[in-house]
């Protein structure tokens, strides 16, 4: 149903103050697919995501949404096409789940417009998809970390954008909730064709869930493409400075990174 919005990063340079974080980076986000951005801490991947969601103005180059410069488009228009879940959003004290998720409808509302049946339907669908419908009247303060993250994702879903950017959506979640969240995003991608771009820490989950893997090393694009091609022992060495063995994951067939480390390798594993 989506008419496949294009999101292109063209020779972008980003930074805060005098510090350059991203230097002359090109990136084409494949429409209707799941893209994961990986890289070491402080390599600029979150900064890149902020620029792709219009939060940070580029110092050089540009981000193009459907061929138009993202930073020249009106905020609200962007917010109807492109949703973002920041790393640490703050839930206002005492807000209930239903109200928080309803806030995702803001870009679709005019200054004085009333809440419509369409808004209710979007919020209900978002709550249902994230399995948080039963929490509707609960206060967000009372929820567990996993529930809270699903509620935030529900808010982003209620926004009904065709492109969804997420900054480390699985941080602070235990492994089963991480998989839940990524399965949910895959559902969304498959059922609605939503283009998803996320920054992920866990290489193995990134390799499994992404159709397109982007590796960033100190502000520059190191490699981008199919995870099977991008994620090699060499990539892990260059991007994270870590020796590893990469084997096919017996569950998914995608690459699986096994760090070698200094202590536990059995004899016969070359370091």
């Amino acid at each position: 149903m989506t008419d496949a919005h294009s999101l292109l990063v063209e020779r972008i340079t980003l930074g805060y103050g005098d510090r350059t974080v991203i230097d002359d980076l090109d990136l084409a986000v494949p429409p209707g697919r799941i893209t994961a951005i990986v890289g070491a801490n402080a390599c600029g991947k979150s900064t890149l995501l902020r620029a792709m969601s219009r939060l940070l103005a580029p110092k050089g180059g540009q981000v193009l949404l459907d061929g138009k410069a993202l930073h020249k488009l009106p905020t609200k228009e962007v917010a109807r096409t492109l949703g973002l879940l920041p790393q640490t959003p703050v839930a206002p004290e005492g807000i209930v789940v239903g109200d928080l998720v309803s806030r995702g409808r803001n870009p679709h509302q005019r200054v004085m417009s009333r809440w419509t049946a369409e808004d209710t339907a979007a919020v209900t669908e978002a709550l249902t998809m994230t399995d948080t419908l039963s929490l509707t009247d609960r206060s967000v303060d009372e929820l567990s970390g996993g529930q809270r993250q699903r509620v935030w994702i529900a808010m982003a879903l209620a926004q009904q954008t065709d492109v969804l950017l997420l900054d480390e959506p699985t941080t602070f979640l235990d492994v089963s909730h991480q998989v839940d969240v990524l399965d949910l995003l895959t559902d969304l991608n498959r059922s609605r064709g939503t283009t998803i771009v996320m920054v992920l820490h866990d290489l193995n989950l990134a390799a499994r869930y992404a159709d397109h893997l982007v590796a960033v090393r100190s502000g520059r694009l190191y490699a981008a493409g199919d995870p099977t091609e991008v994620l090699t022992a060499q990539t892990v060495q260059d991007v994270f400075g870590m020796t590893s063995r990469v084997v096919p994951d017996p569950v998914s067939g995608k690459p699986l990174v096994l760090p070698i480390g200094r202590h536990h390798a059995v004899e016969g594993v070359e370091v």
Partner: protein, 351 residues
């Protein structure tokens, strides 16, 4: 949009819609009750005093008929006083909650971060040193409040304005300005002290229509501007990034809100002095009553009016001596501040 789950959606939609409706009804009911209380206290303020007039007499005065005694006491003393209480309370409430919402911190109230102090210091300076009176003093106070806000904003600015830094700088600026007031007071002539006192704790004594009019105008102009920012401000509680992703122009919203809120605080301070703690208390009380997640502006305005009306009635009639309203609200507000600090400390939150 094809719904993913076909059958349960209708009943599930009911859950969402019902929840919304229930909260909207509750909010409307709470606002209506607060409005009714404001009206009741306003009427009590008109009727009650050393001489108690009947509702009929008060109504006649309001309609402009001459009622011996009442025309002066009600028309010239009580009516402007009660009106000023309602308007100043509302202005402090809205101005305060705007800052608290925007900086995500109840301590970020204009009476702590130096804006009210700026108005007070300028007014005291104008009265004592420049020997100004009336409107000129108010103008000085308003200009100084806006200037103070600008100074604090500029000093706190580094890649955007972070709440805590602005609050701490504001507290320092407030302390400085308060010392200016103390210094001027020590040098003041005895006959000036009475006038100057109003600029310290806030008082409705000698309220007249001359003070009501500019404040009413400020509310009519800045109030709607501020209300138009309400949705943006409530979304900004989630953080600038999140609000921006939901289509809010964060910087613009913040700028408009600051200017409008400072205007309200400045005009209210010029009219009634910095009535202690009203700007600080209204927002959190309103939040407690109405629940989080919705705009607190109108509820906070009503709470502000209630605080000032109640405080003034208590100050005038509850004790042997008459106290200015600011003394009463100060006594109410200080324990709440202590409570708030203890609670934040326990929950381990930053400020």
């Amino acid at each position: 949009m094809t719904a993913l789950v076909e059958t349960p959606v209708r009943s599930a939609g009911d859950v969402v819609a019902r929840g919304r409706r229930r909260r909207a009804v509750r909010r409307a009911a709470v606002i209506a009750v607060m409005l009714a209380l404001v009206v009741v206290l306003y009427v009590v303020s008109l009727v009650y005093g050393n001489t108690v007039y009947s509702l009929g007499e008060v109504w006649d005065v309001i309609r402009g008929e001459t009622v011996p005694g009442a025309s002066f006491t009600v028309g010239e003393l009580r009516l402007p006083r009660a009106t000023l209480a309602v308007l100043a309370g509302a202005a402090f409430g809205v101005g305060g909650v705007t800052f608290q919402t925007m900086l995500r911190n109840p301590l970020a109230s204009p009476d702590f971060i130096g804006i009210s102090s700026g108005a007070s210091a300028a007014a005291v300076f104008a009265i004592i040193t420049l020997e100004m009176t009336g409107t000129a003093v108010s103008l000085m106070a308003i200009t100084a409040a806006l200037a103070t806000a600008l100074v604090i904003y500029v000093l706190a600015f580094r890649d955007g304005v972070a709440g805590t830094r602005l609050i701490l700088i504001g507290i320092a600026v407030a302390a400085m300005l308060d010392s200016v007031v103390s210094y001027l007071m020590l040098r003041a002539a005895v006959w000036d002290l009475q006038t100057v006192m109003r600029w310290l704790t806030g008082s409705l004594n000698n309220a007249s229509w001359d003070q009501v009019r500019p404040l009413a105008l400020a509310l009519v102009v800045a109030g709607p501007v501020l209300l138009a920012q309400a949705r943006g401000l409530t979304l900004m509680q989630q953080g600038d990034d999140s609000a921006s992703a939901l289509g809010i122009r964060v910087e613009r919203t913040r700028l408009v809100a600051i200017v409008a809120a400072v205007t309200l605080i400045a005009f209210a301070t010029a009219a009634a002095g910095p009535i202690a703690f009203v700007a600080f208390l209204s927002g959190p009380i309103a939040a407690r009553i109405i629940g989080g997640g919705t705009s607190l502006m109108i509820p906070a305005a009503l709470v502000g009016s209630l605080l000032v009306l109640t405080g003034d009635l208590l100050g005038q009639f509850a004790f042997e001596n008459r106290y200015p309203v600011g003394v009463i609200t100060g006594v109410l507000g200080a324990p709440y501040l202590v409570y708030l600090l203890i609670r934040t400390n326990r929950s381990g939150g930053s400020l």
